[in-house]
Every structure is written in structure tokens, then in C-alpha cells.
Amino acid sequence: MNDLMSVVDWSRAQFALTAMVHWLFVPLTIGLSLIVAVMETLWYRTHNEKWLRITKLWMKMFGINFACGVATGIILEFEFGTNWSNYSWFVGDIFGAPLAIEGIFAFFLESTFIAVMFFGWNKVSRGFHLASSWLTAIGVVLSALWILVANAWMQYPAGMKFDPAQMRNVMDSFSEVALSPVAINKFFHTVLSGWVLAAVFVIGVSCYLLLKKRNKEVAVSSIKIAGWIGTLGILLTMWTGDGSAVEVSRVQPMKLAAMEGLYRGQCGQGLVGIGFINPDKEIGDNNDPIVYGFEIPKGLSILAKHDANAFVPGIEDLIDGIELTANGDTIHTVSYAERIEAGRRAQSALADYEKARVAGDDLAMDLAAKRLQADYQYFGYGYLDSPQEAVPPVALTFYAFRVMVMAGGYLLLFMLAALFMAYRKQSLLSNKLVQLGGLATIAIVWICSEAGWIVAEVGRQPWVIQDLMPSRTAISSIESSSVQLTFWVFVAVFTLLMAAEIGIMVSQIKKESKRDILADK
């Protein structure tokens, strides 16, 4: 058992490392492709050479980031096959369709139109070039769509039926998978956050250009475009974040409870503004879960249910299967102990199915499959030793959520300030503190973006597929030592590559800052 946990932990650490490195590049690709397309559109419409130069500057940054991010995502798929083979088989058909579509878009759309973007300046018409830039931006977003659809399905499995003969979840409704409310919210929230990240990158690098006292016109023009895209992006990200909170409260209430460090909920539940998780708090004891904090009255009920008096269940309420009505009456839902029992019945049915299959008894197989189907929605709970195992790491989820939200609030102010300075008070842009603040915000936006994924992925533990498969069941029969080895190989490889890639990006930015971008040939 210890070795099994070790394999799970190391595999999770490895997957988290790979995914977080991958995510350093993706949002910048998503957002920068849009910003470049907007800038090129300005050149196309105005014929102003300035916009052509500015477009080419940011296209270079886009190219460096795209090249550095190439193939970092494919490693995740390798890990599915090696470390998570039970999981990859179990989800096979559901993941197969979105990932195949993603592969086609990524390969054909991006590789074709990115080539035209970079190599086609004097070879194709202005209109065709502009179309290629927009198609690249659209292709990048469509690629992201299918990955996010696959991820959303893991958070909210829908549109499928489990087939014990194939041991797979078989898709029976593509639209339910692709258009689930969780998928749609996740898609918009993630893509829009990419706009914000890229906008901050453009503003931050522009601040560096200003710091070097050259290319003021390029910097200010870039800040104006990025400021508008970033402001629109952060407002829409907040709006879709609100939608995500509603969806999480509906389909992953345990995640929401962990995000808030909420153990016992109530009608008109407050939202923790700032606070610290009490490390001594255990499920079932009387300790306060939050110390040194303040609460926004009714905030969580409004956020999660859009109703100031709605009941929001805490961790212990969910475990006990208790909800309250607005009148204070108790409603019994399915407790986690009952879910575990149901999960075990489903697993027992699966074992009977296997015995019947080996014996060649078709009738018994049918009966076992029907029993399995009846309790399948709680299949994964059968692997848990106790209800407490269904609780995600509360502290990490709680703090990551706060980092994301506070950084998001700061980014809104940052964008508004950037627009104000670019349009109304350009003298402020010459202030060194403002310029350094712009540069430092590049780090903040990436921390915000990664924190969002920590909330999404740590908050859904122990599930690799919500309610159906816990992480420890998804793992392959492999040695912990081999995962540890590859984990450290990854740390070494990623560190070296990241150092080289960041080095190239920084050296290019420095190079640009030393020349006159609008005048140089």
C-alpha cells in the first residue's frame, strides 16, 4: 500500500510538473495570437507602417513562445500511457474524439497558417496574410477547446455509458460531452484568461522598452491595444469565473467547500475574504476552520447559488449527506458512507461480470452489467476506505483560490491603470516605479494563471474522473522508483530547456529595446 501511494504521489507530482510547464506557454500563445491579429488588422485598415512594425515585433515574441512550447503537451500523453494506463483505457473513447480533433486542428491549421504568418510577408497578399494570422489565432483557440472539453469531462462525466465488456466509458452523446456547461465555462474562462496573460506580457515588455528610453511610440501603442484586450479579457474572465463557481457548486460541491475551507455550511453563507486555514482542524472536531480572517456576509451563497439566502454545504454536510432549505428544514441527500456502499455494490457487480465472462455465461453477464449500471455513478467511491478520503487537500485549494482571485482583482486595476496612463496621463509611463511595476506584473499574471489550475485540479482530488475513478485506481502497475527517476529527469530537462528558452526570449527583448523599431530596416 505504501508503495502504491508512493507511485500515485510521484506520478501526480510528475503530471503536475509537466502540466504546469506546458501551461507556461499555452496562455501566452492563445492571447498573443489574438493581439498580433488585432495589430495586423490595424495595419491592414490604416496602411500605417507603424502597425506593421509593431505587428512584426509581437509576432517575433509569439514565434519564440510558440517554438519553446512545442511538444511540451505531448509528454502528458506519454504519461497517460505509462503511469496512468488504467485511466487512459477507462476514458479511451471519450478522450479519443476530442484529442483527435485537437490533433487535426493543431497540425493542419496551426502549422499551415503559422508558416504563412512568419514566412509569407512578401509571398502572399496582405489580405491572405491577415487571414492567416486570424486563422492561426482561431486554430489555437480551437485546439484549446478540445483539450478543455476532455478536462471538463473528467470534472463532470457526461454523455457516456460504461461498457463493462470494453471496460471503457463509451460516448453516447457527443453534444453532451462537448457542450456540457462545465466544458463551456472552462473553455471561456481559460481562453479569456489567456488574453489577460498575453496583454500583461505585452504591457510588461512595453514597460521594459520605456525603461530603456527608446521606442516610446511602439510601447504606448502596444499598451493601448493590450490594455483594451486585457480589460475586456479580465472582465469576461471574472464573469466566466462566476459561472464556474456556480457549476462547481452544482457538480463538485466538495471542491467548493475546500476552496472556502468550509466544514459546516448554512443558509446565507459568508465568503472568506482573507483568512488562514487552521492547521489543527480535523473533520468532526469543534475547531474553527479559519483563523485570523474576515467574512463577506452571504458572499458564498451569492457567488455559488446567485441567491443570498441559499444553503451552501460544507465538507461535513456533504459527508453526512445533509442540506438545509431556506426555512431551515433538513434534507437528507446521499451521504458519502452510502456512496461508498453503492460503489462497492458496483464493483461487486463488475467482479461477478468477470466471473460470468470467464464461465461464458451470457445471462449472468447481462444481469451483472445491469447491477453495475444501477450504481455506476458512485463506482469510484467503492475504492475509498473512508468518507474522509473524498476530501481534497483543503489548505492548498483554499490558498490557491485566494491567490487567483486577489491577483485577478489586481489585474483589473492594472489594466484600467494601463489604459488611463496610455490615453490620459502618458507622463506617468515615464515613471520608473510604474515601469518596474508593469514588468513585475508579468510574474503575477503567470502565478494567477497557474493558481487557477491548482484550484481546478487539486480541488477535485481524490478523483481523476469525478466520482468514478480515484487517482490511486487510475495508476499503472509500475515501480515507484521508475517514476521517481523520470520525475528527476524531467526536472533536469525542463530546467535546462526553460533556462535556454527564457534566455532566448529575454535576449530578443533586450535586442529590440536597443534598436529603433519604427525606423530600423
Binding site: G63, F78, T473
Partner: protein
């Protein structure tokens, strides 16, 4: 028909030229391409070949065997969970 094939061949030639000329005239891309090539070699010829085999593809001949293997593992895991619970 011959006009069409000439058109297609010209189009193909232009497409190839786009890539060849583009790569030739790259100014900042050389070290970038070096990193990409090293990365792809490490990913596909080291990590994939030596560290990350697709276990179910490698160890079983067909989908039926793979399904049976996963079923057996999930049943075995559920049994060990229940044993832990009873202890």
C-alpha cells in the same frame, strides 16, 4: 486535366518554396530551432522510447486482452480496498 495538374504542382511548389525560403531567411530562429530539435529528440527518442512505453499497447496484443487486464486490475484494487476497510 493537365491544366489542373499543372496548377496543383505549381501550388505545391509555391508551398514548398514558402517553407524553404522562410527557413533560409530566418534571423532569430537558429538557436530556437536548435532547442526545438534537441527537445524533440529528447522527447521522442529518449523519453518515449526508454522511459514512457504505452504499457497496455506493449503488453497486450489486442483490445480484448487490454480490457480484460484493466478489468482485472480494477477488481483487484476494489478487493484490496475492501480488505483495508475490514482490517
Amino acid at each position: 486535366m493537365s491544366e489542373f495538374s499543372t496548377y496543383i504542382s505549381r501550388l505545391g511548389r509555391r508551398g514548398i518554396d514558402l517553407y524553404v525560403d522562410g527557413f533560409r531567411s530566418m534571423t532569430i530562429g537558429k538557436s530556437l530551432w536548435l532547442i526545438i530539435i534537441i527537445k524533440l529528440i529528447v522527447i521522442f527518442f529518449v523519453l518515449k522510447l526508454f522511459f514512457f512505453p504505452d504499457l497496455l499497447q506493449r503488453d497486450y496484443d489486442n483490445d480484448e486482452d487490454r480490457a480484460n487486464a484493466v478489468r482485472a486490475r480494477l477488481i483487484e484494487n476494489s478487493t484490496s480496498s475492501n480488505i483495508n476497510q475490514n482490517q
